[in-house]
Symmetry: C2
Subunit: 206 residues, 2 copies
């Protein structure tokens, strides 16, 4: 934000304290994440977020430059959370890439076959946000490119015949499972995502 200010100015006190940040900010982030995910980004206003977080719009704008920046931060949080359970799942089956991917889809199905799920926050944001210069856009692009890269790498680790093709196919299935949760409900085709992944993997390895 103010990173590009005059370098000659003394900025000592700013960089010394890592800023414990305010509790209000955390409450706003938590509330906003919940509302954005449940109702969509365009459907939720900053006033609603602030009030729901037990504060007001003024305190909101003391902590966030704009709503768009809050959205970007929300998606960064979702990315962090997604990578977390991804890495956890991988760690549980280290050295067995095939089982790693299968577990990934098992957890995906498990996470999405509940009433609260509304698919992938990043993908939903990609659908909602059409402005090419929105600060959330690079967050989404980076996350999705990362996911694709990871699937391809896992396919290579599996020793698949056409690793990139398998990786991309799994990526399609991954995205499809999320959006199918939104379009056809928790008891729809999502339920079969893990089985489909296994069939796809088998087709490229056995």
């Amino acid at each position: 934000m103010n990173r590009a200010k005059n370098a000659q100015v003394t900025v000592q006190e700013e960089i010394i304290s890592p800023a414990p940040k305010s509790r209000v900010r955390d409450r706003i982030m938590k509330t906003a994440s919940d509302l954005f995910y449940r109702h969509g980004i365009h459907a939720v206003g900053v006033d609603t977020i602030a009030t729901e977080a037990g504060t007001n719009k003024m305190s909101f704008y003391r902590n966030f430059a704009s709503k768009d920046e809050l959205v970007a931060e929300y998606l960064r949080g979702e990315e962090r959370e997604g990578l977390l359970w991804w890495d956890e799942t991988l760690a549980a089956h280290a050295g067995n890439p095939r089982l790693q991917v299968e577990s990934l889809f098992d957890v995906l199905v498990q996470n999405n076959c509940c009433e609260e799920s509304r698919g992938c926050a990043l993908a939903n944001a990609a659908v909602e946000i059409t402005e090419p210069d929105h600060p959330a856009r690079p967050v989404i692009e980076k996350y999705k490119a990362d996911m694709r890269r990871r699937f391809r790498q896992l396919a290579r680790d599996m020793g698949a015949r056409e690793a990139d093709a398998l990786g991309d196919s799994l990526m399609l299935l991954w995205e499809g499972a999320y959006v199918a949760r939104v379009t056809m409900g928790a008891d729809g085709p999502v339920q079969g995502a893990a089985k489909a992944a296994r069939a796809l993997i088998a087709a490229y390895t056995d």
Copy 2:
């Protein structure tokens, strides 16, 4: 719409003329469909639509009860269009269900790997519209349930081992290809959707 009105009332003049409808209405529909698809539903206001269609807001509300109704009608149009090229593709390979599905995915890839594509209008609407009583919701649900049913039937026609599982897997892939176009671009994993479908089909038939 007014199908359930009192049967004793004379409705002769209504059912006699099939209504040539106005040209303004068509222009609005076409403009709205284009804007909704490109920029999203929430991002486009009725004033913009009317002006862009060469008319004004007043004429808009003479032809549509509300914006929500326009959205529902827009999605009904997209559904009609989707079923059209679906049926065309099936007709081109009648009697060969496997080739029918493969062609379906070929056309899907072809349609989505261009600059103008922004995925499935119905699926995008499902992500954007969270109100459970929105008039567009039943349109989306019906369309997606129909697609799922069709894929399952095609899998049965193929003589697949677990037809419903294959049908649902193809549905996941279908949805995934659309959303992957939005999240990762035209040159991303979408390109491999047809190949993935073939692998999936082979896994359940060969």
